[in-house]
Each structure stands twice: as structure tokens, then as C-alpha cells.
Symmetry: C2
Subunit: 132 residues, 2 copies
């Protein structure tokens, strides 16, 4: 329960790897996949997703790869998680309002309190803190 996904895990591994390199050096999906024993295809998709969200910049062709272009201390963990996995809520009813039991639900307010606490926590942590 309350686990993060492999996708996020792989994304963090890649980011941390890139940060450890000297400036502007490109990193390919292959390089990360080999070094950390991570599935190449899934990792590649994740890198593409990060590029799409302007966290990374992609360079195509051989000798291509990715590099970090965002200010990681400006991206909260909450935003990062949501970019990769969509809205972050411990219960679906936090976002869905079509729950059929809604009239009878007695834990909506309490759960939102929990959710807010968790969202606040991840809003206060930056990607930089995690990957530095």
C-alpha cells in the first residue's frame, strides 16, 4: 500500500544518474538500462515522458540522448509524481465525484484531510532534494 511505481523509480534513477555527470553530457536510455539493470523499453518511455514535460531535453540520432533542462529545485515531488502518474490521491474519490456510494460515504471529509496532508508533504519536497 502507498507504493510508488517502477516508472517513477526508474525516472529517479535516471535523473540521479544524469546529475552525477558533468554538465550537458547526454545520457541514453541504453546507458541507464545497462548500468542499473532496468528494462530499457519502459525506461525509454519514461524518459520520453519527462522530455515531454520539459524536465529533460531529447536529442535524436546516434550519439543522442537526454539531458536535464529543468530546475529540479523548482519541481515539487507532487508535481513530478503527477506528471508521470496522473493525479495523486490516496483514494479515487478525491478526484472522482461519480462514486455511487457518495451519499452514504462517511469518510469523505476525513480522507480528504489525509490526502491534503500527503499532498502538502510532497508539495514541500523538491526533486532536487531527492536526486541530489
Amino acid at each position: 500500500m502507498l507504493n510508488i511505481t517502477r516508472k517513477v523509480e526508474y525516472a529517479l534513477i535516471a535523473l540521479r544518474h544524469m546529475q552525477s555527470k558533468s554538465d550537458n553530457t547526454l545520457t541514453s536510455a541504453n546507458e541507464v538500462a545497462k548500468q542499473y539493470g532496468v528494462p530499457r523499453e519502459l525506461l525509454a518511455k519514461t524518459l520520453q515522458q519527462m522530455a515531454h514535460h520539459n524536465i529533460l531535453e531529447a536529442v535524436q540520432g546516434p550519439t543522442g540522448g537526454y539531458k536535464i533542462v529543468a530546475e529540479l529545485d523548482q519541481i515539487s515531488l507532487k508535481d513530478f509524481f503527477e506528471k508521470l502518474e496522473g493525479p495523486l490521491g490516496m483514494m479515487d474519490c478525491y478526484f472522482d465525484s461519480d462514486c455511487v456510494q457518495i451519499a452514504n460515504c462517511n469518510i469523505r471529509v476525513p480522507i480528504q484531510r489525509i490526502n491534503n496532508n500527503m499532498r502538502d508533504m510532497f508539495s514541500q519536497m523538491t526533486l532536487q532534494e531527492v536526486t541530489q
Copy 2:
């Protein structure tokens, strides 16, 4: 991602329902299942689990049911979650140390930092706060 389970959800619904009743009145699984449109069997198992952890007391036979016996303000959300779902960590490697990639893993420390933050947060919230 980072969702709580239905089991925990049902447990919270049941607790909140019991708290809203006058002292020492028993509540059956059927009663909760009907009122909140929740699967009876799964709810029953969850109530049994809470009884086993001395949060509830079970009374058998017809007219039987459950009542709260624990001090809910003495039980952290972290403990509650772990009683129902086992160790609470965003990544398995927080507990498992047999990860084959461990030698190459560059995010173990960062992830544990995140995990600790989350665990701290849930350690500071009590069941009472949620169900009151």
C-alpha cells in the same frame, strides 16, 4: 499511485460508523455493508482483522457484532495501516534487502528519505483524528 486500499477504506468507514453510535452498542458487518454499500465478506474479514489487533472486540452469535475497545487517539495512522496491510513503504526495497540491483542502485538513500517523511507524517496522525 500512493493509494490506500479498499480494505483500509472499509475499516475507516466501519470505525467512523461505530463512533457515531452510543456507547457499547454492537455493530454487525451486515449493518455496515448495507448502509454504505460495501462488500459484506471483505468488510467482515477486515473487522475480524481489527478485532485480532484489539482495536475492536467481537461478540459472536445472533445479536453479536463488534465494538471499539481501543483508544483511537493512541493509535497512529501508520500503525493502523500496518496492522491491516503490513509494512508501509513506498518501495519494497525499504524493507527487502534482497534486491539484486542493490549494488548499482543509486536511489536507495533518497527513497528512504522520502519514505521516512511519509512514515513520520502518518505517525503523527491518529485514528481518532480521522474517524472523529
